[in-house]
């Protein structure tokens, strides 16, 4: 700690603080322009100049100067004011004064400073810039005439996002921020730069000229896409969600968002949203009133339950309270056939982790990743499924010199991060790599075996997994593999990350078990600062597991339900917030199930391909239209708040469940989400210690920052099997989309609007395929025509297809396996 005096006030701060931070802590205001809490000090704008007794004679920028013992700082005096005012005059020499038409007006730092310093005239004259605006991309408008060269966009893109789109070019007065070769911006469009820009140089295009910041109603909520649980602030005008605002004061994400979170909101306002219940009459879906639709649904489900049974299949984007209601509804109906998210994809958590560690959740929280020394991610897709955790990984590398190892079948953003080492294996053989790493730990006596069961069995089972053997089978560099294992075991803090979701069903449980084995041997679970992270693809994947939206007793799981339906052994299906036909593996089988099932109720936002098959369609609402809680992938329970009313007659899912239960003879009456949350605590003990109304902006974490495993048992996992064939197709998530709902949002669709199959350059050259060609991909007895995309990510023989697009029907090819052998022809 260091003692210093600022404006006569005695302050004690940590020795790493800068003068600005010390002053802020003491409640003393120093104006800044280029400072941002999450970025490294830079000192570009010189607005924060202060006087230091010990360095008299010149003024010192407070945001870059570290504090020292006995420092005496003056933050305001006539001289300082004059100098700051002059700095403002310099900044305004070539800044165009188009505040009336600039969307930043009202929240512009430069405008605020000009007001603070009463800068009404300028002693200096300079030419105003007249550069063309960059409107090539659909999401971010760059107007460099308004730029004040604070460098925040350059720094955030480099330090936080790790993409590096921007840089300063030219010298002196001609200096400007530009992209590579000064072409238009073409990046991952996370929009971190526009949230950082203190002026109107970077603005969101979808929100262009829509409103002034002070007209917006702002509601803090949680993003409805992935399991990262980023805090988003809904910007509402009237009854419409018009923008997503950034907020770096609260939440778990430091104001960082990805393209989906920042630009993927417009599905909420989509014109195709369901607004009235639909009931099938004479083969046609026709509009009905709620009472009729609910009666038909309740009668149908009750009748089915008396026959061969009914099944309930839920999505993982419902709130915890709604999932609880759904569970009660299932009880009322008397069915044990209850499952979510395809049933297979979360088994890594509910079975893999449960068997090894005894817990079904990530063992640590995201902020701990930033402090890790060694990181291991399985699949490079981790960045695509959870971009904001990817940014945390980037910070761990840049701020703390963490070493990243990526076990993957293809390259991606993560592999390009500084110092990242890739264990590039053939698709489907990641398991072997993980097993080999475990073997290295055994062989070199690095394994932490204290209190761990099943050591001998695993040791024996790993006989065939020596680094050399595995290197030969998988193509991984044996030396990197050994280094990775050694570093993982030797690290002070280590983190292992694995994502799960619908496109990653193959070998899900096995992969989770293998990473859990490795984590146990490296002593990671339960150790302060280290963690094993299994991150769900959907906003409330963890909540659905916590609340037990799983088959109980003799109940059927999702796949079993669908199979039973296909065989005519299930009389009704109630599908909530899911579109199995578009997103579940093996579309043909699901089509058959939906056709064969005598009674189908679908509750969704849109008339999805699944809903089109239904007998009753119930219109539900989005995350922006309901209250409740989501539990993110680090076990953090956060509040979801209602920002806008639901369109037409659409109802909150929870309300629909209550009404339906009422029709079935058990009115589930609760006064609101708070009452339901209290009720959840009775069934899920981990939630019992929290009060709904006391969940603050940072949320609450069940199980504590570091979750202690209840057992430590190694479970033998056999290796994966490589598939033969010239080409191997893997499915997965594309960066710009999450699930199928983002295909209804304008932002993500503007960047990636249709399905594709990705080729590596080598393969493309051999097959004479160029970007945009239509190619035939055949495998699993199905042939699909897809647009080709050529990139340098994929090794020879590997193809990649994202699963988000319903029309492309990639899930006809993909039947739940880790890798598919395919043939390609033009």
């Amino acid at each position: 700690m260091v003692n210093l005096t600022i404006d006569g006030k005695q302050i004690t701060v940590s020795k790493t603080a800068t003068i600005y931070e010390a002053a802020k802590e003491a409640g003393i205001h120093i104006p800044v322009l280029c400072y941002a809490k999450k970025l490294l000090p830079y000192g570009a704008c010189r607005v924060c100049l202060v006087e230091i007794e010990q360095m008299k004679g010149r003024l010192i920028p407070s945001c870059t100067t570290p504090v020292s013992e006995g420092m005496v700082v003056t933050t305001t005096s006539d001289e300082i004011k004059n100098v700051r005012k002059t700095v403002m005059e310099f900044l305004l020499v070539n800044h165009v004064l188009d505040c009336p038409v600039c969307d930043k007006g009202g929240e512009c730092d430069l405008q605020d400073l000009a007001y603070e310093f009463e800068s009404i005239s300028n002693r200096f004259e300079g030419e105003k810039f007249d550069l063309p605006t960059d409107e090539v991309n659909p999401l971010i408008e760059r107007n460099m005439n308004r730029c004040v060269l604070c460098g925040k966009c350059v720094r955030v893109c480099d330090e936080i996002v790790g993409y590096g789109s921007y840089s300063f070019i030219n010298r002196g007065f001609e200096t400007k921020i530009a992209t590579a070769y000064d072409r238009g911006l073409n990046c991952e469009f996370c929009g971190q730069c526009l949230s950082m820009c203190p002026v109107g140089a970077l603005l969101p295009r979808p929100f262009k000229f829509k409103a002034r910041p002070w007209q917006l109603k702002q509601v803090d909520s949680v993003c409805g896409y992935c399991g990262n649980g980023c805090t988003v602030t809904l910007g509402v005008i009237g009854d419409k969600l018009e923008t997503i605002r950034f907020n770096d004061e609260i939440g778990v994400n430091d104001g960082n968002l990805c393209i989906r979170g920042r630009f993927g909101y417009s599905y909420v306002n989509h014109k195709d949203r369901l607004t009235k219940p639909l009931v099938r009459k004479d083969g046609e879906l026709v509009e009905a009133d709620w009472d009729e639709a609910l009666q038909v649904a309740a009668d149908g489900l009750a009748k089915a339950q008396k026959g061969q049974g009914a099944g309930i299949l839920s999505g993982a984007r419902l709130t915890n309270e709604e999932l609880f209601m759904l569970k009660q509804l299932a009880k009322t109906l008397g069915t044990e056939n209850l499952d979510h998210s395809g049933g297979e994809c979360y088994k890594g958590v509910t079975e893999g982790l449960k068997e090894t560690l005894g817990v079904a959740a990530s063992t640590a929280t995201f902020p701990q990743i930033e402090k890790a020394d060694v990181l291991l991610t399985i699949r490079s897709d981790f960045y695509e499924t959870h971009p904001v955790v990817g940014m945390v990984i980037n910070q761990a590398i840049r701020r703390n010199d963490a070493q990243l190892f990526v076990v993957a079948d293809k390259r991606g953003k993560l592999n390009k991060l500084p110092g990242a080492k890739t264990l590039l294996s053939k698709p489907g053989l990641e398991l072997d790599v993980l097993n080999a790493m475990a073997k290295v730990l055994f062989d070199e006596d690095l394994a932490k075996t204290e209190g761990v069961e099943g050591i001998e069995e695993l040791k024996a089972a790993l006989a065939d997994f020596s680094p050399a053997q595995v290197a030969e089978r998988t193509g991984v560099d044996a030396e990197i593999l050994q280094t990775a294992a050694r570093q993982l075991a030797g690290a002070g803090n280590a983190a292992i990350l694995l994502a799960y979701g619908l496109p990653y069903q193959g070998l899900n449980k096995e992969l989770a078990t293998a990473v859990a084995n490795l984590a146990l041997l490296a002593g990671i679970p339960g150790r302060e600062g280290s963690g094993l992270y299994l991150c769900g693809e959907k906003a409330n994947s963890q909540g659905a597991i916590d609340l037990g939206i799983l088959p109980h007793g003799n109940g059927l799981g999702a796949q079993a339900m669908l199979a039973a339906a296909a065989e005519g052994k299930l009389d009704a299906l109630y599908i909530v917030a899911e579109d199995p036909l578009s997103s579940y593996p093996d579309r043909d089988k699901i089509a058959k199930s939906l056709q064969s099932v005598p009674f189908l109720v679908v509750q969704d936002l849109f008339l999805s391909p699944t809903a089109q098959q239904a007998d009753v369609v119930l219109p539900a609402v989005t995350f922006a239209e309901k209250d409740g809680t989501f539990t993110n992938a680090e076990r953090r329970i956060q509040r979801v708040r209602r920002g806008i009313p639901s369109p037409g007659e659409a109802k909150v899912d929870g309300t629909i469940f209550a009404l339906l239960a009422g029709k079935l003879g058990n009115s589930l009456s609760f006064t609101g989400p708070a009452a339901i949350f209290a009720e959840i605590g009775k069934e899920t003990p981990a939630y019992a210690e929290f009060n709904f109304n006391e969940i603050g902006p940072q949320g609450v974490i069940w199980g504590g920052e570091t979750l202690q495993p209840t057992n430590r048992k190694l479970v033998v996992v056999s290796g994966g099997a490589a598939v033969d064939g010239d080409f191997q197709l893997v499915t997965g998530s594309a960066l710009y989309h999450s699930g199928t709902v983002s295909t209804k949002a304008k932002g993500p669709m503007a960047v990636l609007g249709e399905a594709y199959v990705e080729f590596g350059r080598e393969d493309a050259k051999k097959l004479e395929i160029v970007d945009g060609d239509l190619v035939k991909v055949a495998g699993n007895g199905v042939e699909l025509k897809l647009k080709a995309k050529v990139d340098s990510r994929l090794p020879k023989g590997v193809l990649f297809a994202p699963y988000h697009f319903a029309e492309a029907q990639v899930n006809r090819l993909y039947k739940g396996e880790a890798v598919i052998a395919v043939k390609v022809s033009k």
């Binding site: 009336p100 038409v101 262009k208 000229f209």
Partner: protein
């Protein structure tokens, strides 16, 4: 004393003479308003459009909340008011909108004959305000 009376009455009688009356024979005769009079608003046109750039300062400053603006982008990529309406029934003619306007796009004219029969007729749209 009589002289004082006469002096006083002479002023009175002077005002009785034609041309010295302060009463204006409205509506046959109308007063010429001062330039600073705050009557009906007018949106100032420029060559091919209104001068207004839809910056939202007037609806923000308006104490009676009588101005509705909705901005949009025109073909040239400029910001313009798609909707600009003043609800004259709520307007208190304070002139803050004129004062707030950064581009001098709104001014107040001398027009004060604003009575009408329908409530709807008091909604002054962009087209009416531009006349």
């Amino acid at each position: 004393m009589f002289l004082e009376f006469a002096k006083g009455l002479s002023i009175t009688f002077k005002h009785l003479l034609p041309g010295h009356s302060t009463t204006v024979q409205y509506p046959k005769v109308k007063l010429q308003m001062s330039d600073r009079f705050r009557g009906l608003h007018r949106l100032v046109p420029s060559q091919d459009r209104e001068k207004c750039v839809a910056c939202y300062l007037c609806p923000t400053v308006c104490p009676a909340k009588c101005i509705t603006v909705e901005s949009a982008e025109n073909e040239k990529g400029e910001k313009y008011p798609k909707i600009y309406t003043i609800d004259l029934l709520r307007c208190i003619f304070c002139g803050y909108c004129v004062e707030a306007c950064p581009v001098e796009a709104i001014e107040m004219t001398g027009a004060y004959e604003l009575a009408d029969y329908n409530r709807d007729d008091f909604q002054f749209t962009k087209q009416r305000l531009l006349k």
